[in-house]
Assembly symmetry: C2
Homo-oligomer: 299 residues x 2
């Protein structure tokens, strides 16, 4: 488990994981943590790559967290490929892969819940009641288990990132949250485990989401109102396309409140259904030194 190891250790129990990590921390190594739900793609691997640069030891968890799926959501259908994931994680530089069962993670149920505030009512929260309760539950557990110096989250899940940043700040969690830019396909579609569910026709049209958000940023820079921008983005996605809008929102970030011109960061985010597949994407802009996009991919 030394620095630059090429061997990856896979563990399935909390006890085994903590034993490994504690030993490494005692020897003075820093720990970077990449929590995932598996079915890894380049987005996840870019989290590993950043964690690899910043830390001595990289821990990845793969756990399809039942607590963050609502009734009727795709918990059972969520794509899984443990063998391929382990191969990808090892190649990307993960030192310790933690793959617990639901029973290992949730052996008891005392009924204590972590309930997010108004941030969870915006964007995806509106159509996924309880989703972020489940996210905060597993994040607190994993951070306590792994005890990482830094934890890596992708900017594609911008609402999740905003709520977790707020949780870490308000409850003094002992980990630094590192934002990692969204990784995209050549044509601009954000990488997602759910992209495999798109039909050929849907896949062909899906890049319109990012094009529409870029159009939205352009009209924002021209001085359009939130409502105008949201309408332009929605029209861009739906006219002549299969996409059905769940939401398009321009909000202050990470508070996810109405943008009133004062916040240091803004998000333009949307969720769009192509057939049965719900895709999300966003652009986060910083207002420091004039507006500029934070989560440009490297195309």
């Amino acid at each position: 488990m030394a620095i630059n190891t090429i061997e990856m250790t896979t563990v399935h129990t909390i006890e085994a994981l903590q034993g490994l990590i504690d030993r490494n921390k005692q020897e003075g190594r820093t720990v970077g943590f990449v929590p995932t739900m598996g079915f890894l793609h380049e987005g996840h691997l870019s989290l590993v790559s950043q964690a690899r640069k910043d830390n001595d030891l990289v821990v990845m968890s793969i756990f399809v967290n039942p607590a963050q799926f609502g009734p009727g959501e795709d918990l059972e259908a969520y794509p899984r490929d443990a063998q391929r994931d382990a191969q990808l994680a090892g190649s990307a530089g993960v030192d310790i892969l933690f793959m617990p069962t639901p029973e290992e993670m949730y052996p008891h149920e005392g009924g204590i819940k972590i309930v997010p505030g108004p941030q969870a009512s915006a964007l995806c929260g509106a159509s996924r009641p309880g989703h972020f309760d489940g996210v905060l539950k597993v994040v607190l557990k994993l951070v306590n288990i792994v005890n990482p110096d830094c934890s890596y989250f992708g900017m594609k899940d911008a609402q999740q990132l905003a709520i977790i940043e707020t949780f870490v700040r308000d409850f003094n969690l002992r980990t630094s949250i590192v934002r990692v830019p969204t990784v995209r396909e050549q044509d601009g579609l954000a990488k997602s485990s759910r992209n495999v569910f798109l039909t050929a026709k849907e896949r062909e049209e899906a890049p319109v989401i990012q094009q529409a958000l870029q159009k939205g940023v352009a009209v924002f820079n021209d001085g359009a109102s939130s409502e105008q921008i949201e309408k332009i983005v929605a029209d861009f996605i739906t006219i002549n396309n299969l996409g059905v809008i769940d939401y398009v929102s321009l909000l202050a970030y990470p508070a996810l409140t109405k943008y009133d011109g004062t916040s240091k960061e803004i998000i333009l985010a949307c969720a769009v259904k192509f057939g049965k597949t719900r895709l999300i994407d966003n652009i986060i802009m910083s207002t420091k030194d004039g507006f500029h996009v934070q989560n440009d991919d490297e195309q």
Copy 2:
């Protein structure tokens, strides 16, 4: 800040506290944590005494946590004496005293809440809605800030202890919760910061609470039902006395569900008002090797 130091350091900021603690932990010292709301009495000092035995470094916090007081409760009237507290803490063997302001503890409000489950509906929870949300909030913050090996809680606040034990278990908090028996006055009244509010007459009668609970345990051992026991205890306290019952309950511990004969621990707990002062007390019995009382004081 070495072992057996006789100098106590008082800090008011999270940053200063964490700097001190991290240095000690890096040097291999174990940390025991005693969270309090101040106005220290022998009960608190027995927590320190236990922490002193178990750890290299003892950290006490004194913070009257606004989040756990409801509207109309005694937040403003809660007794405070910082100077006397510091003296007592130092004499008892505290190494680091943390006395933050509410602004230091709650500089932001992102609205995330930790909401206990059914445990919070029993006992004191019924008449103090939101109280245990506030307790869990400050406990998570303090545990994250102090990063203690062990945290010490008194058994007088048995419901608080039960909920915190469940929180630590279900969310993998990296601290061990140590139960410390209730300390009592010579006549059996549980030590409490609120005892100073009793009139002479009320003070004279208040020991009836512990006598009644002991009577309840005796009839429990004789095979009485929960309902019978609760009635006997309530009558014992109220007949010919000023005490007004808030509740008397025999429950499984720490689940705080109805006692069905199977749980490993049982609690007989009550809350009684003497005039404006609300007093709580309890007896926790273990069923291991036959029932026996866990929280006997040392009289």
